[in-house]
Amino acid sequence: MKRYVIIGNGVAAAGCIEGIRSLDPDGEITVISEEDHPVYSRPLISYLLEGKTDTERMKYRPDGFYKENGCLVLYGRRAVSVDAARRTVTTDDGAEIPYDGLCVAAGSRPFVPPFEGLGTVKNKFPFMTLDDALALDKALMSGPDVLIVGAGLIGLKCAEGIRDRAKSVTVCDLADRVLSSILDPDCAAVVQKHLEQHGIGFMLGDTVIRFEDGRAYMKNGGTVDFDVLVLAVGVRANCELVKNAGGEVNRGIIVDERMKTTLDGVYAAGDCAEGYDASLGARRVLAILPNAYMQGNTAGKNMAGGCATFDNAVPMNSVGFFGLHIMTAGVYDGEMLEDAENGSIRRLFVKEGRLAGFILIGGTDRAGIYTSLIRERTPLDTIDFDFTKKVVSNLIFSQDVRRKKFGGVV
């Protein structure tokens, strides 16, 4: 009987468990879970603070998931080292766990720059985990002034989630625009304006140079007084276990299209892994939930002796702020096709005859058709790609293709 070990207990781990069990009903699965919770939907922590979900509904899988899948979960345990030659994982209580197949799904951790005086700030919180959110939840009871450092997805979802519970919410970022990793300057300006209309304040192109308890001194000369500080500057992949075991790492743990690391018997998945981005044509960390599941699932199948590949990962995000939906995918490279009306923006990027990426703000109907064109690298001259149609439709495909898609004709 095979022995599987999974380091981490997030969505990549859940995908791995389900991948293993799709092929091997009997092997032993041990999950090392540093967090003291069964797998939960991490991106929902902002919705928790907003009151749109609760810890019960945040469970990513039903109660009984681990039992039904025959998993032993070691809650509150941390993996401290991997011995790839002997095929063992050592945990922080000194236990040595042998494996035939290992999946490192250790996620990422908040990156906190060495701000001067940060130690003087009492109420400061990262915003990554359920425990972070629950701690912040308590600090919001007094209706505080909140400063959020970081105008990325994590910082802005936090801002939205706490807006109605805080006296004020100010977001600062060294970047000169919001969501700089997924939006170009024009689109970022539209989103920023929308957020400002909903009461979020911004200090962009600016950074904290010094904290003094409840006050931040900014580079541009201003100051911000706050009761609660949220640090959402960025994250770093947890690569050290594999690196120290002799595996290749870059910004994340290097994996091939089967999610195998450079170490025999060791796979990696999720926010700690650096796999191939089909839209970029190069490897990069794609720290998004769908990717975590699909990588974990691929790793699990391969650990169980299958031959699964995941070679069409692309960055993609769907996120809403105060009712305004934003969808993005791929890379913003090549010729840009654009239309904009009534606060809606549609920008498509066409490169070498293929859709390379898109940004949609407002109108997002049937956007998955665009995403599939990127993921499947569909040559646009094989479809009726008519940009003048306001909403993308399955009409772009030929009748034969539609017969296959909707008629079950193989």
Partner: protein, 146 residues
């Protein structure tokens, strides 16, 4: 397994499937009360123009990317049917972003809803199919794996 299939050449573009869908999932007995003067949010929609029209609804894919992508773990597949737990959904629309068929759209409240083949409502079989006047959508076995 049985699936809803589209016979595109027979579609009249009458949109009756949309109304039957909205009615079937309204939980209201009287069709007029369920639909009259209301904007409907059906789980099937008719696409096309002029001479070409066809209905699009969830394919209940063999390997559904919406299930793998849902950030809330709200979409699952059991017995061949892809279902959504609307209590868990937060309306992020990631499933809309990934569905290659463009088959998904949120309900009136912004929370996702989807075709569940009318298995759980009063119809017991897809109302869009039952009400289609020209057999342009059918519910049958065509040999695709679950």
């Amino acid at each position: 397994m049985k699936r809803v299939y589209v016979n595109e050449e027979w579609c009249l573009g009458c949109h009756l499937c949309e109304y039957n869908c909205a009615y079937a999932n309204s939980g209201i007995k009287d069709m007029v009360a369920a639909l009259k003067d209301k904007r409907i949010f059906p789980r099937i929609h008719v696409e096309g123009e002029d001479k070409i029209t066809f209905a699009v609804s969830c394919r209940h894919c063999t390997d559904p990317i919406c299930v793998k992508s849902c950030i809330a773990g709200a979409v699952s597949k059991k017995d061949g049917v892809v279902r959504i737990d609307r209590g868990k959904c937060v309306g992020c629309l990631t499933c809309v972003l990934v569905c290659p068929y463009g088959a998904l759209a949120p309900g009136e409240d912004g929370i996702m809803q989807k075709c569940e083949l009318c298995l759980d409502n009063a119809c017991g079989a897809p109302a869009c199919v039952t009400g289609c006047p020209n057999r342009a959508i059918v519910y049958e076995e065509r040999g695709e794996s679950e």
